[in-house]
């Protein structure tokens, strides 16, 4: 834990113009190197002096990473596209509305202009003990400060906790999982395509990372297949403030209706676990059912099965239940 904050220590800044150079730089500088997207997560860490680096590799000068391209089988969004651009891009708004809505609810207008979609999915957890530099499990220690009888854990996990109880703070991640998005990751050896649902990691898999991205790998773009284009979408974020806030819980869904019943669905809930939770059991249970109140009620109950609240976050259980119900209804109430 740093003794002095709010002053960034010195480091070398690199501004490569292609992804290969970025990867080379990251490898050359080893663990001391960090990728810079919009900086909304990074600069907090650096200013606080709770994470130290020797080199910062800025992706801002790499052509192509800020493009949104309509492709034969969907749309491809560069990792460095600002969230405000994602939120108002006509193709995203028209065909993948859930992502536009999610991007439009991130933080504040200013942060959406600066923050990128790649950064929003790759951002670290916001557990305030961890962010304050406390030596917890996620920081390499052997304690969780957020899960003691007196901890302040209103924002923390009700599902899938494993030593660490931090949650995924991203608004766009649940939307991308709901859209069956593919994360395009460039490595030294080539390009990998990873399903969004497999991209995010819980603490049981790796307590130090939130995604499968390894050091020296770069998320370059996100491909959204046509699978859910024009489906019935729902996104809702519950937070303390209308602006400049992380979700207490959010939900993203895509539902394909056929003949009055649910042909297929994706229901994904954020901020209840360390990764966005795709609710496969709920999806299975509602397939073939009408999108009515009865189905919604069953889905809501099923969604929260197995939830284990901490001292102050019991409200997340009814909140998640209700948001899943609303996702099935496709409207607030």
């Amino acid at each position: 834990m740093a003794i002095v904050h709010d002053v960034m220590p010195a480091y070398e800044l690199f501004q490569p113009t292609d992804v290969e150079s970025a990867i080379t730089l990251l490898r050359e500088h080893g663990d001391g190197a960090r990728i810079l997207g919009g900086g909304m997560d990074t600069w907090d860490w650096l200013k606080d002096r709770n994470k130290r680096i020797t080199a910062l590799v800025d992706l801002g000068g790499i052509p192509g990473l800020q493009d949104i391209k309509v492709t034969a089988d969907g749309i491809e969004i560069g990792a460095m596209v600002p969230l405000s651009v994602v939120a108002r891009n006509a193709d995203v708004v028209n065909s993948y509305t859930v992502l536009a809505r999610a991007a439009g609810r991130v933080a504040s207008p200013q942060i959406r202009n600066q923050g990128t979609i790649g950064g929003n999915v790759n951002q670290d957890v916001r557990c305030w003990y961890y962010r304050s530099g406390w030596p917890c499990y996620r920081a390499g220690g052997n304690i969780c400060y957020a899960n003691t009888p007196q901890s302040l854990n209103r924002e923390h996990a009700i599902l899938d906790a494993n030593r660490c109880v931090a949650v995924s703070p991203s608004d766009t991640a649940p939307a991308l999982v709901a859209l069956d998005a593919k994360m395009i990751v460039q490595t030294r050896r080539g390009v990998r395509e990873i399903n969004a649902a497999d991209y995010f990691l819980g603490p049981a898999t790796d307590i130090r990372r939130t995604t499968v991205l390894k050091h020296g790998e770069v998320l370059t773009s996100i491909r959204i297949p046509k699978t859910w284009s024009g489906a019935q979408f729902y996104f809702e974020k519950v937070a303390d403030r209308k602006s400049w806030d992380f979700p207490l819980v959010n939900v993203a869904s895509a539902i394909r209706m056929e003949g009055g019943s649910i042909a297929d669905a994706r229901i994904v809930v954020g901020a209840v676990a360390a990764r966005p939770m795709r609710l496969r059991k709920v999806e299975d249970a509602i397939r073939g059912k009408a999108a009515d109140e009865a189905t919604a009620a069953v889905a809501g109950e099923l969604a929260v099965r197995g939830a284990v609240p901490l001292r102050l976050n019991g409200y997340k259980v009814p909140l998640m239940r209700n948001l899943v119900k609303r996702a099935i209804r496709g409207q607030e109430a």
């Binding site: 709010d6 002096r49 305030w128 519950v238 001292r311």
Partner: protein, 803 residues
């Protein structure tokens, strides 16, 4: 005397242009030759003793110029805070300061310091501290006993009797009661009695501009640029802190990015760059205070845990109020918020009998200070939902119960049987009800549309509306302009400009021919009130009116001497003193200034009134000979207490599936006497309502109880309201009837909108929840949802503090 042309009119305050164009210089914007920067080492522990400090590596670090430790700074006796300490009483308290060529060097040097702490016991929750064997925040004890600190512990039986969600009520240190037969007699007369656990959380002030300061020494004088609410008073305060005469402090604070009570007389930390500069041979030192630091050693509103019992007759009249409050005053000075909460309650409900008991407990949390509406802003939102509960039991309209109990001009209230200078509270309530369409809207209360439930609420708030007895200082220079010197601060309220217009109006001057002089002691400012506690508008319309009248008299006398005739045969207006009936005659202001310089004596400032303050005298003396100079003390009668009143009405839509709510409409009406500046008033009132609503629903203050460490240091986590959180439409009106004891009729209005806003919102949410009441702020979505799902229960418990 000229008619009022300026009071009551909108103006574009001249400092606004500088603010909008970015030319306004705040403390952080100043630069001086050879300027150093300082970073502070803050205590990582909530209570500790510094055992050893090894500065050798830091001092050897290239670029480090000086390090200041607690041993080298004034250490006044508790409860006065030192600017640096070796016994930190809260996490984030400054221990030492490093001055270096830049901030990075200073921060790097701090990491090279070897410092060893001995942890001491600490208390975070006042109720824990009051338990038998509970921790004490200081080595002297845990609570205030008068001015002294001692130990207060309650019997275990007190806690057992209260149960987990009840308020333990042990013996208190301060108690008063009024009304015939006391509250027992009052309750005996009651048809309906309600009692409730009540709670108000602590909250950092979070002014946009932090308490940055830059200082240097030149020829024995201290030059300081800082961010304060009040200029004249802060100059004195900083001189006192440094043990030097105020004449040797050149104090600059032209613009202040908000204070809300946290910068009334500046801050103790402001002297750090002054002392470091001295140590660095006079080189300027800049201390930029970050948001983290602002949360730590900026100030915060005291939290309260308590209980209230109210008795009402069938007609709604309050026969008794029994109020019990434990105040968390933080780690240093004793705050008066619980007492003020009781005073405000005694005024807005005028109970026939009332008892108040309080105990003020020290905790190892950041020091508290007055925050906009101190006491009232906690009391109103704590009590108004309880009054609503009584109204429901009485089957009475919630507006009506406030009318029945609210004050009028004839009211005598409280333990002192206090008289009001004016009170148009009934008019404010009626006007607000009409604008908001209360009868129609309140009929919609509880209407459900899907998961959305409509709630309607109102809250009635009050606060002190002004002091008196301050000085004014005017100069008419040979350029013909009227210079209005103002020692109040420029903290964004426009009062520094608005109150100057009282003098201009007396003299019938065009605003274009007036210059307001403010913001730097080098410009020679009068002894002025602090810009706090809603006093400035009242205090300085009076002082400027008084000095305007003095200037008027001087002009008449001067004209009489120069041109013959009696002084009373002359009038003043449009930049002249002229013979009555002949507006083109007499002397222009420019000529009058010239003649005053020639004549000297009382015209030029060489001879001054006896009753003005020393600071005004010094300033006028420094200006003497530059024109026609008037200095005067406000001696107008002030024979009763001045209070302002605000009624706020709110409609909300609570989503009972998510706990979120939307404010559909807000209407606020104020009784603040004559309106001085309509646009600024509406902005102040609505902004106060936003601030109050933010306090009531999102503005957090969380301190981990195990480690005593603050977790809501950044705005992102502390969540004060943003402009996007409010409704898009606010409606505001003022009763606009004059207070008879102010020469322009004005009363202060800064404070009461905060309590009105938070109270109206909490009442509306409670209304939407069918009267379920959680008693715990901030009423964030998790709490609303928990209350709805669990019939009033909140996860943390009703009395859990710093959650």
């Amino acid at each position: 005397m000229a008619e009022s042309n300026l009071i009551g009119q909108d103006i574009v305050s001249r400092d606004l242009v500088a603010k909008i164009t970015g030319r306004a210089k705040y403390a952080e914007d100043y630069r001086a030759e050879g300027m150093l920067f300082t970073k502070l080492l803050l205590s990582p522990l909530p209570h500790a003793r510094v055992v050893s400090i090894d500065l050798s590596a830091a001092l050897a670090h290239p670029g480090v110029i000086a390090i200041l430790t607690a041993d080298e700074v004034p250490q006044d006796e508790f409860p006065f805070e030192p600017c640096l300490t070796n016994e930190p009483r809260y996490e984030g308290e400054p221990i030492l300061a490093v001055a270096a060529v830049d901030e990075m060097t200073a921060a790097d040097a701090i990491e090279l310091i070897r410092i060893e702490f001995e942890p001491l016991p600490f208390a975070i929750d006042p109720l824990d501290s009051l338990r038998p064997g509970g921790p004490n925040a200081t080595l002297m004890g845990n609570a205030y006993l008068g001015r002294e600190v001692g130990e207060v512990k309650w019997e275990q039986s007190v806690f057992d009797a209260a149960g987990p969600d009840g308020m333990p009520m042990g013996p208190t240190e301060d108690e008063w009661e009024f009304g015939e037969g006391g509250v027992e007699a009052g309750f005996a007369k009651a048809d309906v009695i309600v009692e409730e656990v009540i709670y108000s959380h602590s909250a950092t002030h979070h002014p946009l501009e932090s308490r940055t300061a830059m200082s240097y020494w030149q020829n024995g004088k201290l030059y300081i640029h800082c961010s304060v609410q009040s200029v004249a008073q802060s100059r004195r305060a900083i001189a006192d802190r440094l043990g030097m005469p105020f004449e040797d402090v050149v104090f600059v604070s032209e613009f202040c990015g908000g204070g809300f009570g946290s910068k009334i007389r500046g801050s103790v930390t402001e002297i750090i760059p002054s002392l470091l500069s001295k140590k660095a041979g006079g080189r300027p030192v800049m201390m930029r205070v970050t948001r983290n630091e602002e949360t730590a050693f900026g100030r915060a509103r005291p939290g309260m845990q308590g209980w209230v019992k109210m008795g009402f007759r069938r007609d709604g009249r309050m026969t008794a109020m029994d109020l019990y409050l434990v105040q968390d005053t933080g780690s240093y000075a004793r705050q008066g918020d619980t007492s003020t909460a009781a005073d405000c309650a005694s005024l807005i409900y005028t109970p026939e009998t009332m008892r108040f008991r309080t105990v003020t407990v020290l905790t190892n949390t950041p020091p508290r200070a007055a925050q906009r509406g101190p006491g009232g802003a906690q009391g109103v939102p704590m009590l108004e939902p309880v009054v609503d509960r009584a109204a429901r039991q009485l089957g009475m309209d919630r507006l009506e119960i406030r009318r029945v109990n609210g004050p009028t001009a004839a009211t005598r209230f409280g333990r002192g049987n206090t008289q009001l200078t004016s009170c148009y509270a009934p008019e404010a309530l009626s006007r607000g009800a009409e604008m908001f369409n209360w009868s129609e809207r309140s009929a919609r209360s509880g209407q459900r549309n899907g998961s959305k439930v409509t709630g309607v609420g109102l809250a009635f708030s009050t606060y002190y509306g002004g002091t008196s007895g301050w000085d004014g200082l005017l100069v008419i220079r040979p350029d013909g302009k009227l210079y209005i010197h103002q020692g109040v601060g420029n903290l964004g309220t426009h009062a520094v400009m608005d109150t100057a217009r009282a003098a201009a109006d007396v003299l019938g001057s065009d605003w274009e021919d007036c210059e307001v002089v403010w913001g730097s002691s080098s410009l020679h400012l009068p002894h002025s009130s602090t810009s706090s506690g809603s006093q400035t508008t009242h205090a300085h319309t009076r002082a400027n009116h008084a000095v305007g009248m003095a200037m008027y008299g001087l002009l008449q006398e001067l004209a009489s001497l120069e041109l013959g005739g009696s002084p009373s045969s002359y009038a003043v207006g449009n930049g002249r003193v002229y013979r009555i009936g002949s507006p083109g005659s007499g002397l222009t202001f420019a000529q009058a200034a010239q003649r005053a310089i020639t004549r000297g004596g009382k015209f030029s400032g060489a001879v001054l009134p006896d009753d003005i303050n020393e600071m005004t005298r010094n300033s006028a003396t420094a200006l003497a000979g530059q024109g026609l100079i008037a200095a005067a003390k406000d001696t107008y009668p002030h024979t009763a207490r001045t209070y302002s009143f605000v009624a706020t009405f709110a409609e909300v839509e609570v989503d009972v599936e998510t706990g979120m709510h939307r404010v559909v409409e807000v209407t606020t009406v104020a009784d603040c006497g004559t309106v001085v500046h309509p646009r600024s008033l509406a902005a102040q009132a609505n902004a106060g309502v936003i601030q109050g609503m933010g306090f009531a629903r999102s503005h957090k203050w969380s301190i981990d109880p195990t480690w005593g460490v603050h977790l809501t240091k950044r705005l992102e986590a502390a969540k004060p309201p943003t402009i996007l959180d409010g409704p898009t439409q606010y409606h505001f009106a003022a009763v606009d009837l004059p207070d008879p004891q102010n020469p322009v009729g004005a009363k202060g209005i800064g404070e009461p909108p905060v309590g009105a806003g938070s109270g109206a919102l909490l009442c509306a949410i409670e209304d939407a929840l069918g009267g379920l009441y959680g008693s715990h702020t901030p009423m964030s979505p998790d709490k609303v949802l928990s209350i709805y799902e669990n019939e009033g229960r909140v996860a943390s418990g009703r009395l859990a503090i710093h959650v």
